[in-house]
Amino acid sequence: MMKKMNRETVITAVILLAVLAGAFALDAALPSYHIAIKVVKKACVYSLVAVSMNLLNGFTGLFSLGQAGFMLLGAYTYAILCIPVAKRAGVYQYFDGGIVRFSLPEVFSGVLGGTIGPVVGMLCALLIGGLITALCAYLIGLPVLRLKSDYLAIATLGFAEILRAFFQWNALGPLTNGSNLLKNYPDIGGAAAYIILVGVFIAVILLLVNSTYGRAFMAIRDDEVAAEAMGINLAHHKRLAFIISSFFAGVGGGMLAMYMGTVQALSFKSAMTYEILLIVVMGGIGSITGSVVTSFLYIASLEWLLRGLDSGTFLGISSPIFKNGFRMAIVSVIIMVVVLFFRKGIMGDRELPDLFRPRRKAEKKGGGAQ
């Protein structure tokens, strides 16, 4: 093992540790409502979802647009399982306190004590959300995965919309609170907690991509017929990729719920899927590092750095054209430029260590984007 510790691995490890240390420093130095921490948290969530989408669209070549629907499932599961019992009556005020009468963080804090318990409970809720999403993806996949390219895209988009309508149905109110907000559930921690959590999930995806399964996925992407001729079971591997990707989208949805503090089915529109897809494209279809870096760049610019474009003054320049919506307009123009003229995105299909390989002179673009 030690022999494999070459230069690029070391640099990558150093960068990742620096990011983690930076997150701890942020948590220690700034109050939790500070914009920098918010940005890191949201960018982490988007990274995870973007990577999960990349696993499907970039590595397996299945063009699915169901991400928002899967995130919705994860988000609702997390929220429903984590609202404290005492607050349920208030949240489910129109549905008599709802039918779920327990809260995982409280259950676990009863067993494991007040410090670890809630965290374990929240993690369990996230994972259960992922599993429910994966189960749902299995069922959706049965009919949908037989479809090709754009039909698959539109069918998954359709399922996401159906899920959204379903969750707003009043008859499900005792469980989902109908079209009302779910709120008052706990958040797992600060920026560092998000980075660690998302880092672990992305590491799992990375291991998967580098395994035989990952190589089978890529073979399917490159040429279905050739892959099948090489003995890869197409149906099985496509289903697997779809389920795994959805699992992580569900977990990502749960974390989004955590970050936002409230959940409402209305917000999981297809626009959200498009946004994530565009992040994946900008980062480079088939590059996990690209998805992560772009998520951070995208969220940081939108939520923080480009704020001035909306409020009148940007980089010291004031102009009447800097009014509400200008930053989104600028960002979407940049996106279109990337889509049309830099089709490989920021990273192409390279990963972080590839940037530091001695022979290839690569620019240092990734790394400390945060």
Binding site: V144, S149, D150, I154, A165, Q168, N170, N324, F326, I335
Partner: protein, 292 residues
């Protein structure tokens, strides 16, 4: 049954409006094999232009202006966002379409300030109330199916009996062979977008007459539903798109009439998935086989 009659009438009207949008999808898909995700947003922009132009000029200027600007928009989108990707994989084209949709929505947000623009009776004649079978409704409900039928007949004539229509048919059969036969495919593709946007503009003027305001997201749902209609009817087929749109419009309104409004959208997508799984070529679609 009497209670459902207004919904049925409404459904026919909504169906006609979907049909006008669906034709745009089906034409473009027939030729470029592209789901033009931006089409719903073109439809929304047409609505916005209508709101702005009808507020500042008389109706006989504003209607042509809406049509012209929407056509120009459709043409520009094709030239800017799809033409550079002619040789790229189909997925790049689709991503570009999604990007365009995102761009249009954000630009619209910027120009409208993010506020839904109220529709204040832009075309007075079609918003007047009339009585049909004892039910009061707006005249637009009656005008839509008739206008849709006329436009579809004109379009079918255009496609079957003019030179450029013949070009469109040739390009949709085989892109490269058509090019070899001397058809200027860029012109034909642009024409497709022009026709599609024109019909979307007409549909938009009719559609938004029934709504209090045009928001930047207003295009999304009708766009997706019209797309479903196009798939349902067999994508690439004009009669298919029209029949599909009317069926979807009517079923949707009937579902609302039965008191399941939450599911009227979900129904459309459920229909889509059933159609895709049972008969992916739709009602009138041609069977396509994949070549290795």
């Amino acid at each position: 049954m009497q209670g459902l009659l207004p919904y049925l009438i409404n459904g026919i009207s909504v169906g006609g409006q979907y049909a006008l949008i669906a034709i745009g999808y089906t034409l473009v898909y027939g030729i470029l094999r592209l789901i033009n995700f931006a089409h719903g947003d073109v439809f929304m922009v047409a609505g916005l232009i209508m709101v702005y132009s009808s507020a500042s000029m008389p109706i006989y200027f504003s209607i042509p202006l809406v049509l012209i600007l929407t056509v120009v928009l459709g043409f520009t989108i094709e030239r800017m966002a799809y033409k550079p990707l002619r040789t790229a994989p189909r997925m790049s084209l689709m991503i570009s379409a999604i990007g365009v949709s995102y761009l249009i929505q954000n630009l619209a947000f910027y120009f409208t300030g993010g506020l839904p623009q109220p529709v204040t009776n832009p075309i007075p004649w079609i918003s007047e109330n009339v009585t049909v079978f004892g039910e009061s409704t707006k005249r637009v409900t009656l005008v839509t199916p008739v206008l849709t039928a006329l436009l579809v007949v004109a379009l079918v004539y255009f496609i079957n009996h003019t030179k450029i229509g013949m070009g469109m048919r040739a390009v949709s059969k085989d892109f490269e062979i058509a090019q070899l036969m001397g058809i200027k495919i860029n012109g034909v593709i642009s024409m497709t977008f022009v026709v599609g946007s024109f019909l979307a503009a007409v549909g938009s003027m009719l559609y938004f007459t029934n709504y209090p305001s045009v928001a930047i997201t207003s295009g999304g749902m009708p766009g997706l539903k019209a797309f479903v209609a196009a798939v349902f009817g067999g994508i690439g087929s004009i009669p298919g798109a029209v029949v599909g749109a009317f069926l979807i419009g009517i079923s949707e309104e009937l579902i609302k009439g039965l008191g399941y409004s939450t599911f009227s959208d979900a129904f459309t997508f459920a229909l889509l998935i059933i159609v895709l799984c049972v008969r992916p070529t739709g009602l009138f679609g041609e069977k396509v086989t994949d070549k290795v």
